[in-house]
Assembly symmetry: D3
Homo-oligomer: 133 residues x 6
């Protein structure tokens, strides 16, 4: 198994692959404590999200579902972007919105719908928006 130096490199490579230039440093983690930043990069990005066995798009959609359920809006914005960055389509995100309504409730669906509409707007992804025709 990889030692920690390579977990850090693996984690940074994962981070770069999902967010690239969108990522602004210093993150709050490294502001607070350099060890905390290493912990996140090595553990979340290097040790878990870089594992083979599940593609990056499915991983990001699963994270979107989890964050919507937990009600964590700020991280949700990051990962709706992440999902789109690794190949999720507008249509797939909208399907996750519908499905969250059933499994986490309509208030959760409302949060994801709002975040998705904002992110689509920022990225110039066309919204239907023509009202209920």
């Amino acid at each position: 198994m990889a030692d920690e130096t390579s977990l850090y490199e693996l984690g940074m490579a994962h981070h770069q692959e999902v967010w690239g230039a969108q990522y602004k440093r210093p993150s709050v983690y490294e502001q607070l404590d350099p060890d905390l930043y290493r912990f996140v990069i090595e553990t979340a990005h290097g040790r878990v999200l870089s594992r083979p066995g599940l593609d990056l798009k499915t991983r990001e959609l699963l994270i979107v579902a989890t964050l919507t359920t937990l009600g964590r809006e700020r991280e949700l914005r990051t990962h709706v972007n992440g999902a789109l960055n690794v190949g999720a389509t507008r249509e797939e995100i909208v399907e996750v919105v519908f499905q969250m309504g059933i499994y986490a409730g309509f208030p959760a669906m409302r949060m994801l719908a709002g975040v998705a509409a904002e992110v689509f707007g920022e990225r110039g992804i066309e919204l239907h928006g023509a009202g209920d025709q």
Copy 2:
């Protein structure tokens, strides 16, 4: 059982009855996807909230309790207004505040207290506010 056209009409009638002119369109749902908007109106408003067997005021108070528990502040504001619109009194809302402290914890109670104080202020409902005399 009603077909979908009438579920939509039923849903819009429920929405109009609870919020009327307070409701601003386009909602985030219709901005994101017209199907999503239909889904919400037909399912939540037309199919569930319009059912007989429970009065609108009790329904809105139950939604207030659920949203307080979930920590969904934006929707909570909508439904504290909704509850007042369909006949809940200042006193009843304050009773829900107390009760949430016991069942969902004081941080949840604090959220509802803050939202209620804001909504009462916007609607010109007198706050006690004279401090602990």
Copy 3:
């Protein structure tokens, strides 16, 4: 304002009114610590649930909504019984079931549906149960 002796009596009277003979002592609270038991009776039952301004049935339905959202199944059984004890009907409980599906999600609705079916069975309340006709 009432002193603590009367809060305890007020609380026990509330408890008796909602559950009466259904209530088995010693509760886990008094097993663990007599002070904890007093705290629950005086605070939840004496100080909050006994307040005027909201009827007992609405209070129990709000507790059912909160416990369903939180996923606390054991207490949910207690309060579905409590709601029925203070006048809620089978139909009203079923309406809360539907509504929880929208606001807390279908898995929460499923928990309440299961608990309600059990409690109705124990109390000899007729279930429809004839399948989807």
Copy 4:
């Protein structure tokens, strides 16, 4: 848009496709109220989960993530089975387990790990189980 009769048929077809003979009736929903059963089949299965735009396997994995986050163990068992029924592999489920540790916390990961181990055992899917070699 489909009328309700076809939503019911669409929903039952989805249900049959995911669980087939594993599904035992009467469900708790139809025991409690035939309308509630129709509501679940038509809304969750007919109206949302049958939508094109996201494959069944991804849908089930998203449900697994949501139920793990919510701590709903009974439904989780149903949907770990559902995911495997529509093509998820042992390896993919294990990847979801790891990922839930990061996003919903290790206690959530522990719940999913326990359910997955049970379901794999019941289905004769080989567990590693040889300990930490």
Copy 5:
């Protein structure tokens, strides 16, 4: 056992000991209802947090863990300050941040990290912040 007048005084003394001059009145509780304010001071501060048997620092750290898990950011800021006011060190808060990542998930850890970084900044507590060296 103490009567309510002394519970109020006990509660105010606890409040003063933890926050002192940081506390701004009127709080939202007293704005909404003087009884609600008394309820909070007497129950939370007078009856529970003033009990002997657990030191104030441990109590505040436990509250920080609970609020982080619940995702209540505003109250979290109050209690990170409270913990520091009664003797918690920067290092201890950072340890709680790490530990929340494991038990409540990395999105919860992220919330606490952000709040801690802000509070440390406001109080002039040195942040590492030099990045991952």
Copy 6:
């Protein structure tokens, strides 16, 4: 920083220190996947819980608070035992019970009270249990 071999050893030493002979193997993690077991030992036990800067007793009490809030009863039993194993007293656990009532709500407090009463019983720790005298 330690390499992974020593993280594993550090983690096992932490585990041994908190639970010792109470710990039954194989755990569900190693049954499911040896990598998952390593991940838990190295990350939770080796990398976080073994850090200096917070004593083991405070760490276990914080975990008890988090698990109570999340409603994870099985892990709660493990960590009430863990807290007692590393020096928490009956009185301190009871104080956490009271405090959870305020911050996570009385249903959460009820869960912890029930688990604590069971664990105290199993360990021969005297319960008051004489009722409200």
